[in-house]
Amino acid sequence: MSRSSVVPSYVRPPRTRVLGLPSALWTLLLVLGIVIGIEFYARSGAVSPLDLVPVTEMVSSAGELLGEEEFISGDLVPTLVSVVLSFALSTLIGVSVGWAMVRSQWIRSALQPYLNVFYAVPIFALYPILVVLFGTGTVPIVILSTAFSVVVVISHAVVGFDSTPPIAEKLSKSLSLSHFQHFRLILLPSALPDILTGLKLGLAYAIICVLASEFIVSTHGLGRIVANAYNSFNTPTMYAGILFVVGFALLANVLLGAVLARFDWRRR
């Protein structure tokens, strides 16, 4: 690359390679660097094995956990169930409330100011109340996670419904579609890309909230595994649990992203 150009670098087309490597390879190198760095740091003896274990050991204790019947049925499955339930509920409630807000100006102006500030208030503070009311089972976790993830679904659904082309609205009028037909044939398909973005965020929020509730107060679940292992100084299991959580969150995001991309007509 010629360095003598008078054109400043900020308007030149971005480089496609650095040191002969494309950006995707640098991403991979960065991840590998972090993993190998932890491995060597843990093996170097500079840190107590009570504080950090090598990545290879984290992976092998994660494998051990997977072999335990109790872990699968007692922790992994309940976490999955909570996430799926909260996600399904917030999808259903979120899109319906979004529709209601578009149909009724009153509902919209009543809800909008609360939706705007919702994520500023740490709604997690309500979790202890739910625990007192419903015990430490799946119910309070699902209620809280649904409430936490539904707002982002609502906001995106409203944006989507609002962006329906006026001409499609007119067509719906001229065909005198019923309210439900209007929703199913006009509003929903037109808002779908925005709704899908909202759902993707909603899933991330649901996972965060489920694991956080399990982590703070609960009797089971992936989050509980990490918290219990920490409290009993079982460092390898703690890191194995964290590895599970990270893998679970990333996998769920990638999978949902792939599924949703199939329905997104804007990207086709």
Partner: protein, 283 residues
């Protein structure tokens, strides 16, 4: 599913007259009515929720489920306790420090990375992945390395806030208009001048929105950390009251936390509106 697109294409010019004008007036009137008194509907909703809470508490008629009055009473009792005041001050102090650090470092690092399209593309996927994992489960790592103290809680709150702030700053910087960059090149601006005259004015609107979002996330991170390993602080007070099953105090504290969170958020929202008026709404 491209029904809507197909529908839009298939629409004939005739459908221009589909909506009777009377209906349009009605919509306009409804809209004007709602905007001229923007506080009526939210206030009605608040009253509805409060009365539902009251009726539920009255019907349950239990010692566990308090009425709104009992919750406020519980909060007032708490506020007379010097240890509780201490907890509030601890939380506010730690929150202030970690929020400032998250905002400053996230902004600076984000703008720096955003200036390089290549390195943004290389680094961003890792940061986005990191942002989507439930960070609270990483909190034990903070505890092991930093000990149970305000330092580990503050560090966790900082991390909860700095990642989203960083992502917003990178995206905003990467989105600086190419036309403006070309103008800068024509004027032979050097890097500091480019930053000061082009980049910063373009990213300010997005940064101010980021500041508002980051505040909520930092506060949430801090409360979660306090709930898990507090010796003081609002999160700790709440969880202590759970073991004592003192619902009126928990609800009172929730009201207090909502108040503490809303004041800076509303202030930042005002700032956001002014900045958007001055610099444009960003992208």
């Amino acid at each position: 599913m491209s029904t809507a697109a197909a529908v839009a294409n298939a629409a004939t010019p005739n459908s221009d007259h589909a909506r009777p004008p009377a209906h349009r007036h009605q919509v306009d009137r409804v809209r004007r009515k709602a905007t001229s008194r923007p506080l009526v509907a939210p206030a009605v909703l608040a009253i509805l929720i409060l009365s539902a809470w009251w009726i539920a508490a009255f019907l349950a008629d239990s010692t566990v489920f308090p009425t709104p009055v009992e919750a406020v009473e519980g909060l007032r009792n708490d506020l007379r306790n010097p240890r509780f005041i201490d907890s509030i001050l601890t939380t506010l102090r730690v929150l202030f420090g970690s929020y400032l650090a998250a905002a400053a470092i996230g902004t600076a690092a984000g703008i720096l990375l955003g200036l390089s399209a290549f390195w943004s593309r290389a680094v961003l996927p890792v940061v986005y992945a990191g942002n989507s994992i439930p960070k609270i489960t990483l909190y034990p790592i903070f505890l092991t390395f930093l000990g149970i103290s305000d330092v580990s809680r503050g560090a966790f709150a900082f991390v909860s806030g700095v990642i989203p702030m960083f992502l917003i700053a990178v995206e905003a910087t990467a989105g600086v208009s190419r036309l403006h960059l070309k103008l800068a090149a024509t004027l032979r601006l050097n890097w500091p001048q480019l930053l000061w005259h082009i980049v910063i004015p373009s990213v300010v609107p997005a940064l101010v929105s980021g500041l508002r979002l980051t505040f909520g996330l930092t506060f949430l991170g801090l409360l979660l950390a306090e709930m898990f390993s507090g010796s003081s602080g609002l999160g700790f007070e709440i969880l202590r009251n759970v073991t004592l099953a003192r619902m009126e105090n928990i609800l009172g504290e929730v009201i207090l936390i909502a108040g503490l969170a809303l004041v800076p958020t509303l202030a930042l929202q005002l700032l956001e509106r002014r900045v958007h008026r001055r610099f444009g709404a960003g992208r």
